[in-house]
Amino acid sequence: MTFPLQDLLTILPELIVIGTACLILALDPILEATKKDVLAWLTLGALAMCIGLTSSQMTGRVSAFSGMVVIDAYAAFWKLLLYIVTGLTVLLSLAYLKAERLSIGEYYGFILLALAGMMVMVSGADLLTIYLGTELMSLSLYVMAGLKRTEARSLEASAKYFVLGAFSSGVLLYGISLLFGLAGSTGLSAIAAAITAHGTGDPLLSLALVLLAVGFGFKMAVVPFHMWTPDVYQGAPTSVTAFMAVASKAASFGAFLRVFVEGLGAASADWSVLFTVVCLATLALGNLVAIVQTNIKRMLAYSSIAHAGYALIGVVVAGGHSGEGASTGFASVLLYIAIYSFMTLGAFALVGMLRKEGQESDQIEDYAGLAKREPLAAFFMLVFLVSLAGIPPTAGFIGKFYIFMAAVNGGMTWLAIVAVIFAAISAFYYLRIVMVMYMREAEGSIATHSRLETSPALSLVLACALAGVVLLGLFPNGLWSLASQAAPLLK
């Protein structure tokens, strides 16, 4: 069996990422412990090549490997976002691994393997490729969560993530097998055709729909499938947490939209009701439970659950419409996740590098008096938190604005109002940290206060995240036009 060269060229970015990952795994044992940074630069080089290649695939719709993979502006949008957040994660890891005294070269290999899985997820046009991508991503992330092998918390996070992740994959796969039974094929277009031909009344279809929603719900961390999120985000090394919170969520949303729109679009009346309930539960639980957290990583975990809820509003609105209304809804989801990525990554970068006595200081108490000790770090945190709360002129406001506009234009004003109320509640717990940083004095001796461990790589990460949050807040048109170019390709 041979593959046409054209097909291989189409997936060149994926091949580069996987090839570099293998190269890193091979180089790791022969490199001295002090020279592991080379592997990070190798990773960044591969990402730069991929950005160039994927940017040239923004137009048209190319399908490869007998319709298993599709490359279009929609896939390219997610891939570019994934390259950027992966690059920032690698830079953050350079600083973070040094501070934690972890010299593990294969870490970068796992990041690239996870990225390859995510890329396959967002450009898969067949449930087989989407499933394989999801698994490649998840297996790499299980290992990365447990990377601090000597620390019981990290391993506990890894084990919990593994058990629930494997369970959700099993549920997802069962849903896929039922869809195969309905359509006689696992291709998304064939499934769409079968649903149009048979109608949506089939109980087997409803069951498959629910099972797929559960499977993707776990990966996107929406209520009621969120219970792993706080534990895993808290226990995993912070650079890995940032990667999970941002990249894995983005890829899961990308694959989720592709499956539910291109494959199950004809049943959108059914699933938009389902996701309205999920969306309301996610908004309520994420925002309310975040209030009582005392650990900032757990708080950001609940905040990331809540943000998935805001993004789901766009999905629900788009599911209830066709044509123009649907495209605007999906475009607002794409925009929201992209903006969410920058602010969450920035916040986690600061959380990982604020340290005392060689340890991460992840209690909210540790942030007391930060504005006096580290004025610049406190200011960066302020911007990220204000953006997460959705206050203008930051990007977080723009993201929420487009989502709420889509809801109002789509005739779901009540949903927008509910979401605004929850956004107001969320301002309480984000601004509480700002208050702790700026208004409270630190207690105890100076040696026990948390300080920011600066390094050029960390400065670059923070600068990029801040630039993303501020510039996208002031000039959102470029990103919006990219998102609204990508969204109509879902059909």
Binding site: L128, Y142, E156, A157, A159, A166, G170, L173, F180, G235
Partner: protein
């Protein structure tokens, strides 16, 4: 005489539910891992049965991929369980309670 499709689906549904209940009520991570394997194998029964029903080989190809993924999952899972046992001296879900506050 061929066995009707519905028999396979009832069997796979039963195996799948056994797996789900096992994941939910068992406390030992290795037993949970076995239950997940039951869920994946229930899926394989479905794929093979539908593949035979439609005379479409794609379902059986999917089974190969699912088996491979399941093997990779077990490899990663057992590695995590061994590391966990070294750090915690326990592989019971109830003993994993460091991450709360």
């Amino acid at each position: 005489m061929a066995v009707p499709l519905s028999y396979y689906l009832i069997l796979s549904g039963f195996v799948f539910l056994t797996g789900v209940v096992g994941v939910l009520i068992r406390r030992n991570i290795i037993v949970i891992l076995l239950s997940v394997e039951l869920m994946l194998n229930a899926t394989n029964i479905n794929f093979v049965a539908f593949s035979e029903y439609f005379h479409n080989v794609a379902g059986q190809v999917f089974v190969f991929f699912a088996l491979t993924v399941a093997a990779a999952e077990v490899a990663v899972g057992l590695a995590i369980i061994i590391a966990l046992h070294r750090a915690h001296s326990s592989i019971y879900i109830d003993d994993l309670n460091l991450l709360k506050r």
